[in-house]
C-alpha cells in the first residue's frame, strides 16, 4: 500500500501515517494532503528518511511523490 490519502488530517497525523508506511521500506510512496503545513512536514520527514520528494498541485490539494 504505497498510496496514502491524508486529506482533511492535520499535523502530526499525516506525518505519523507516512512514518508508519515507511517502516515498510518501500521504494516509493504517494501521499495526498490538503494543507501546506502537512505538505511541509511530510516532505521534511521523507527527506530525512532519504527520499526525494516531488510536489504536484492537484486543485486545492498536494500530491507528494516520494522516491528513494
Amino acid at each position: 500500500m504505497n498510496k496514502l490519502d491524508a486529506r482533511g488530517l492535520s499535523c502530526p497525523e499525516p506525518v505519523i501515517m507516512i512514518q508508519k508506511a515507511m517502516s515498510g521500506q518501500e521504494a516509493s510512496y504517494e501521499m495526498l494532503v490538503d494543507n501546506s503545513t502537512a505538505k511541509e512536514n511530510v516532505t521534511r520527514y521523507a527527506e530525512h528518511q532519504g527520499y526525494s520528494v516531488e510536489v504536484q498541485t492537484q486543485g486545492g490539494d498536494y500530491l507528494l511523490v516520494m522516491k528513494k
Partner: protein, 356 residues
C-alpha cells in the same frame, strides 16, 4: 524551503517574538505576561461578562491581532482554506479543560516559557508536567488516535470568528458600559499596553507564527515522535530572547516565592500543565496555534478557541482558577476530572474506532 532556512527562520521569529513579549511588559502588560493566550482569553471572557472576576476583565487586543495577523498572511499566501467538521464537540471539550489546566498553573505554554525566562522557578514544575502531558498524548497518537478528517466548508464559516475579533476590537474602542473592564489598580486586567501597541504586537506575532507554524506543544511532541527539532528551536529562541530581555530590563528575579501572577504549589503547577499539555496534543496544537489556525480558516480550531473561552468562564465562576495565594480545592477537583475526561476522550478516539 530548505531545512536550514526553515530552521533559521523559526529561530529568528522566536527571537523576535521573545523581544515583542518583553516590550509588551515594558509598555504596560503584567510582568512575565507579554503574551499569555490562556490569560488573555480569560480576560476577554470576563470583559464580555461570561465570568465576573473583577480583577481579570479586559478585551486583549493581542488576541485579536494574532487571529487577524494570521488571517491576513494566510489570505496573501493562498493558505486561507475553510475546513471543519473534525469532532467539534470533542475539540470544544478539550479546549475547556486545557483552559482549566492553564488556569491552575496560571498561564498557557507560551507564558510558561516567559515565566521561566523571568526566573520563576515554579514554571519548572509546570514544564515537567507539560512534558509529561505531551508524552501521554504521544502515547495515544502512536496508537492511532485521531479526531477524524475535516471537510471543506463555506467561506463564510471561516470568516465568522475572525469577524467576531473585529467586533471585539470595536467594543474595546467604544467601551460601552455593558463591557467589563478591571478598574485601575484592580488586578492584572488593569495592566495592559496601549490598544495600538498591543494590536500591532498581536498582528506581528500572528503573522510570524502563521509563517513558521510555531507551536509550543509541537516542539516537544515532534522531538519525541519524529526526532524533529524545528518547532522546539522556536520555543528555545523565545526563551533566550525573553531571558536576555528580562536581564536587560531588570525583570529577571530568580526564585519561587512572590513571583508575578504565580503560586508556589509545585504539584498542582505540574498537574495543571499536564492537563494542558495532554489536551493540546489531542487538539493538535497549543492555544496560540489554535488562534493561528483559526485565522487560516480552520473552524475546528475556532471551536477549540470557543472552548477555551467558555472554560475560562467556568474556571472563574466555579472558583477553579488559582491565584497568587495558590490553587483552590475546586480547582484541584476540576483538574483531576479534566485529566480523567481527557484520558477517556483519548481512549475513545484511539481504541474505540470502527473501521469504515
Amino acid at each position: 524551503m530548505s531545512f536550514t532556512s526553515e530552521k533559521r527562520n523559526i529561530c529568528l521569529a522566536g527571537l523576535l517574538i521573545g523581544i515583542i513579549a518583553i516590550a509588551l511588559v515594558f509598555f504596560g502588560n503584567p510582568v512575565n505576561m507579554g503574551f499569555c493566550i490562556a490569560c488573555f482569553l480569560r480576560d476577554i471572557s470576563g470583559a464580555i461578562g461570561l465570568h465576573r472576576a473583577a480583577a481579570v476583565q479586559y478585551i486583549r487586543p493581542e488576541i485579536i491581532g494574532l487571529v487577524l495577523g494570521s488571517m491576513i498572511l494566510a489570505l496573501a499566501k493562498g493558505e486561507f482554506k475553510v475546513r471543519g467538521g473534525s469532532s467539534p464537540v470533542t475539540r470544544f471539550t478539550l479546549g475547556a479543560f486545557v483552559m482549566i489546566g492553564c488556569l491552575m498553573f496560571l498561564g498557557c505554554p507560551f507564558r510558561m516559557i516567559l515565566r521561566l525566562a523571568g526566573g520563576d522557578g515554579n514554571a519548572i514544575f509546570g514544564l515537567v508536567g507539560f512534558a509529561a502531558g505531551i508524552l501521554c498524548g504521544v502515547f495515544f497518537l502512536n496508537r492511532g488516535y485521531s479526531l477524524k478528517r475535516s471537510y471543506q466548508l463555506t467561506q463564510a464559516e471561516g470568516f465568522l470568528l475572525p469577524g467576531a475579533m473585529v467586533g471585539l476590537l470595536v467594543l474595546l474602542a467604544l467601551a460601552p458600559s455593558f463591557i467589563f473592564f478591571t478598574e485601575a489598580g484592580g488586578g492584572p486586567g488593569a495592566l495592559h499596553a496601549a490598544l495600538a501597541v498591543s494590536l500591532i504586537a498581536g498582528l506581528a506575532v500572528g503573522a510570524l507564527s502563521q509563517r513558521t507554524r510555531l507551536c509550543m506543544v509541537g516542539g516537544i511532541r515532534d522531538m519525541v515522535l519524529f526526532k524533529e527539532n524545528k518547532l522546539l528551536l522556536g520555543f528555545i529562541a523565545i526563551f533566550v530572547a525573553a531571558l536576555i530581555g528580562n536581564l536587560i530590563m531588570g525583570n529577571f528575579t530568580p526564585g519561587f516565592a512572590g513571583q508575578p501572577v504565580a503560586h508556589t504549589d509545585g504539584l498542582w503547577n505540574a498537574l495543571g500543565m499536564l492537563l494542558a499539555g495532554f489536551g493540546c496534543v489531542l487538539l493538535g496544537g497549543c492555544p496560540l496555534r489554535q488562534l493561528i489556525l483559526t485565522g487560516e480558516g480552520n473552524t475546528d480550531s475556532a471551536v477549540a478557541v470557543l472552548g477555551l473561552i467558555v472554560g475560562a468562564a467556568f474556571a472563574h465562576n466555579f472558583g477553579l482558577a488559582s491565584s497568587g495565594e495558590g490553587p483552590t480545592a475546586n480547582g484541584k477537583i476540576a483538574v483531576i476530572i479534566g485529566i480523567i475526561i481527557v484520558t477517556v476522550i483519548a481512549c475513545a478516539n484511539t481504541f474505540g474506532k470502527k473501521e469504515n
